[in-house]
């Protein structure tokens, strides 16, 4: 095998980053998407626009502003420093913050659409059967929106795997800590080690493909099995 330990390391960090970010995004994104799909609040469009904003900025530019905001002289980093903490730039935690913001629209929007597609009727029926709002959410909305969850998780995960500009800016390329695989590949390309780049990129593609196949296959099986 042509992969060196630091390449495996970068792959591992990337998978860890994508998995962690996806879990956080599902946890944060679900209530947000649910609220957006149900609310009659008139300022809702403002929030929807904010959720979509990370799509607008080129990733390196988004990364640049995160670097500034999270740094010791930025508003967020400065606050953390003032209360005695460590600004999260150049750490794995910093990468997670960046990835969550970067991949947010890819998780929230499919979820919101899936909740919306349920329509009001199943929820009203459940309400007439005395289901509490909590029950209606967990036992009606979530199961009906299941394919939306699969899409959201896959998109969030895949988008974070391929992330480059943001992590490039706020990571500092520290091997074993913030050097993700996209940067490792970029480094190989830029230093003319094309063969190494092909190997790492190929490995990333194969791993991602297998993961996606497993998720979609599992989703299909689940659907067939369900009465």
């Amino acid at each position: 095998m042509n992969l060196q330990p630091e390449d495996w390391n970068a792959l591992w960090i990337t998978l860890k980053l994508a998995a962690t970010s996806t879990i956080i995004l599902i946890v944060l994104g679900t209530p947000l998407a649910w609220w957006l799909s149900q609310t009659r609040f008139r300022g809702k469009f403002l929030l929807e626009a904010i959720v979509a904003l990370p799509l607008v900025l080129p990733p390196t530019v988004l990364g640049f502003y995160l670097l500034v905001a999270l740094g010791p002289s930025g508003p967020v980093g400065g606050f953390i420093k003032a209360i005695g903490g460590q600004p999260p730039v150049f750490s794995f935690e910093g990468l997670i913050i960046g990835s969550v913001i970067y991949s947010m629209p890819f998780v929230v929007q499919p979820l919101q659409d899936a909740f919306k597609a349920i329509g009001t009727r199943p929820l009203e029926v459940a309400a007439t059967l005395r289901a509490t709002p909590w029950d209606r959410f967990w036992f009606v909305a979530v199961p009906l929106a299941r394919s939306g969850f699969v899409t959201a998780a896959v998109l969030g995960f895949a988008h974070t795997l391929g992330e480059f500009g943001v992590v490039l800016m706020i990571g500092g390329n520290i091997p074993g800590e913030t050097q993700v695989v996209s940067i490792a590949i970029y480094d190989h390309v830029e230093s003319l080690a094309y063969t190494k780049a092909h190997w790492v990129a190929g490995t990333l593609l194969v791993i991602s493909f297998l993961l996606l196949v497993a998720v979609y296959a599992g989703n299909r099986k689940f659907r067939v099995w369900k009465p």
Partner: protein, 236 residues
Amino acid sequence: MLIILGCNEPLTSEGTALVAVASNFASTADKLVNVFEKETNYRIKLAIGSTGKHFAQIQNGAPYDAFLAADRERPKILEQNGLTQSDSRFTYALGRLTLWSPKADLVDSSGNVLFSDMFKHLAIANPRLAPYGRAAEELLLERGQWDALQPRLVQGENIAQTLLFVDSGNAELGLVATAHVKDRDGSKWLVPEQMHNPIEQQAVLLTSQPAAHAFMKFLRTKRAQKIILTDGYSVP
């Protein structure tokens, strides 16, 4: 810029050269082009980017007439691959390294701050990719600090990103391009040139386009070299 300037006079493609220039040299190249265009009827369009990307593009047929690289290796490989005009490769500038902090009194005049624990992060350019990074590594190896500083090093993909790490306050200090911090406040140590191998930036001619040819010639004149020196580089 070219399009606006070019409105008044008809330009043939004969008179306009497309020159790929390394990002670290972009602002200096801009000044050089301004002077050059005033002196001649030729026009130069600059394509700014990383030397690695320009190299890959040229290997794959990009329509550049000349290439001002950030290093020596890549123009040399292009030459070996027969993609350049013969005997056109030369060093147009030598990069200088400066240890810089935006804080007024952090860096002393001989760089001894590197032996202290007054900083958490030292930013350097990636030694694998950027000639300035390689020079930084050589400097730290030379002073026997490379291993000790490992946990505190953060690496920019190029010298501009390294500057950004320091400028944004995320790293307290960094080994950056002298050209980038020439006009900045803070504290500095201009690293003596003999403490690392020269950071040779080389240029090659890729086509026989006359404007590009004239521009390459112009780069070696005293006038051009003065501009290059003023911007924080040295010349061979």
